[in-house]
């Protein structure tokens, strides 16, 4: 049984058909990279998994259980799924430490001491253990995004979603974030990454899917994707981005 399964998923933003009959599944421990031009629906696809977006047709299952039903408890669902955004979205009024401990303390009811211990360990792991008491504004973009990753990991999620995590970063900061993501992939985290970092995709992805106009046009291993893509649109995209 796959960890995540999309079954005939359709979604519209008004008249705009943003996801067209999506069928896809992700196994536990798999790293799936989703690429495609902007407006192709790749961010929306990822954001449907934790219901930041709602679908109009079809269903999404996690561990064989549908999560797109009306009676789904959204807070329980989201506590199991970490998400990292393009704009980091750290809470500017809270210290780095409080950014990370807020959800574990308030949602999972973990004690403050326990949550802080975990947070400090995670900050060490993403390489900024000495910044715990600073405020987000005092950190560089790359450091902020690593805090955001630590914040997501603090909930001990089954799945991590990355929505263009390096697109807002200066070039010299991209690698520090990617290397944290690579470590995470190596440790067996199930990851869905929307990204334009083709080097990362080649090195880390188990599978790559290519989307355009709300459809999945191409899917396969990195080797297949980079050496023998079938679809003309994929070839054009690769020519432009590589």
């Amino acid at each position: 049984m796959p960890l995540i399964e999309f079954r005939n998923v359709n979604k519209w933003f008004g008249d705009f058909h943003v996801l067209k009959n999506i069928n896809e599944s992700v196994e536990k421990g798999e790293v799936l990279v989703i690429c495609g031009p902007s407006g192709s629906g790749k961010s929306t696809l990822v954001r449907c998994i934790n219901r930041l977006e709602d679908i109009n047709q079809g269903e999404i299952l996690i561990n064989g259980r549908t999560i797109t039903g009306k009676d789904q408890n959204l807070n329980e669902l989201r506590a199991e799924i970490g998400i990292v955004f393009q704009q980091f979205n750290l809470y500017p009024h809270l210290s780095v430490l409080r950014n990370i401990t807020l959800a574990p303390v308030k949602v999972k009811k973990i004690s403050k001491e326990e949550a802080e211990k975990t947070a400090l360990r995670l900050l060490d792991r993403v390489g900024i253990g000495n910044q715990a008491h600073k405020y987000p504004i005092e950190l560089s973009g790359g450091q902020q995004q690593r805090v955001a990753i630590a914040r997501a990991l603090a909930m001990k999620p089954q799945i991590m979603l990355f929505d263009e995590p390096t697109s807002a970063l200066d070039p010299e900061m991209i690698n520090e974030v990617l290397s944290v993501m690579k470590d995470l992939a190596r440790e067996g985290m199930t990851m869905l990454c929307v990204t334009h970092e083709m080097g990362f995709a080649r090195e880390v992805a188990d599978r790559i899917i290519f989307m355009d106009h709300g459809e999945i046009l191409e899917r396969g291993t990195p080797t297949h994707f980079f050496t023998s893509p079938e679809h003309e649109r994929t070839k054009a995209f690769l020519r432009e981005i590589l």
């Binding site: 930041l52 989201r78 979205n89 809470y91 308030k106 955001a148």
Partner: protein, 244 residues
Amino acid sequence: MDTFMTWLSGLFSNWGIVWKNFDYLLVGAYPQGPLGGLAMSIVMAVIGIFGAFWIGLAVGLMRLSSRRWLAWPALVYIEIIRGTPLLMVIFWFYFFAPILLGHAVPETDSAIAAFIVFTSAYVAEIVRAGVLSLPKGQTEAARGSGLSHTQAMIYVILPQALRNMIPSFVNQFVSLTKDTSLAMIINVNELTLSARHIYTRTMKAPMEIFLTIALLYFVICWVLTAFSRKLERGMSRYQSRETL
């Protein structure tokens, strides 16, 4: 020219009357009689501000709700109040409150109720604007980590939004402080009415008396504004670090 100067100095020669009645301007007949004057204005403004903050916060959050049965009453309330003069609202409470409650209501209570109801509508709009001015990503990050709507509001959205709201809040409260003078119309002995009492009693020194109360209103509003600036600086500590 000389006659003009004499005339002018004559206009402002009666400061003695202001001085003799200064305690009446400040506290009314208190402690022998009821509280009045500037103290009454401040009491009404402070209670009004306090009440309007909480009701305005609640109404503003209702207005933001995606549930129509919450948002709609809030919208109707805000629109009605914003389309009505404060003086009218004061009359409503003065005439209708005793009828609705079935017993006499002190004028001061009617006036305070009117101030709270009136100012709440404006505070609600300030709250709404403050919340909407935050980037959408803040709500998404909070809800995306499993926090409920209420938790996201309490821990993530409102702490940031309230700070952004401070200047507008203070504007509103400065307005309210000045607007307490309207309560004289239903015979509440606040600063403006106290001044008129002194004038009708003495029939002298109108310039001196009304200049003095203008100065008193100004000082109170100025102190409020200065306090808010200080508060704003304190709360924006995490933002000013940008400049480090």
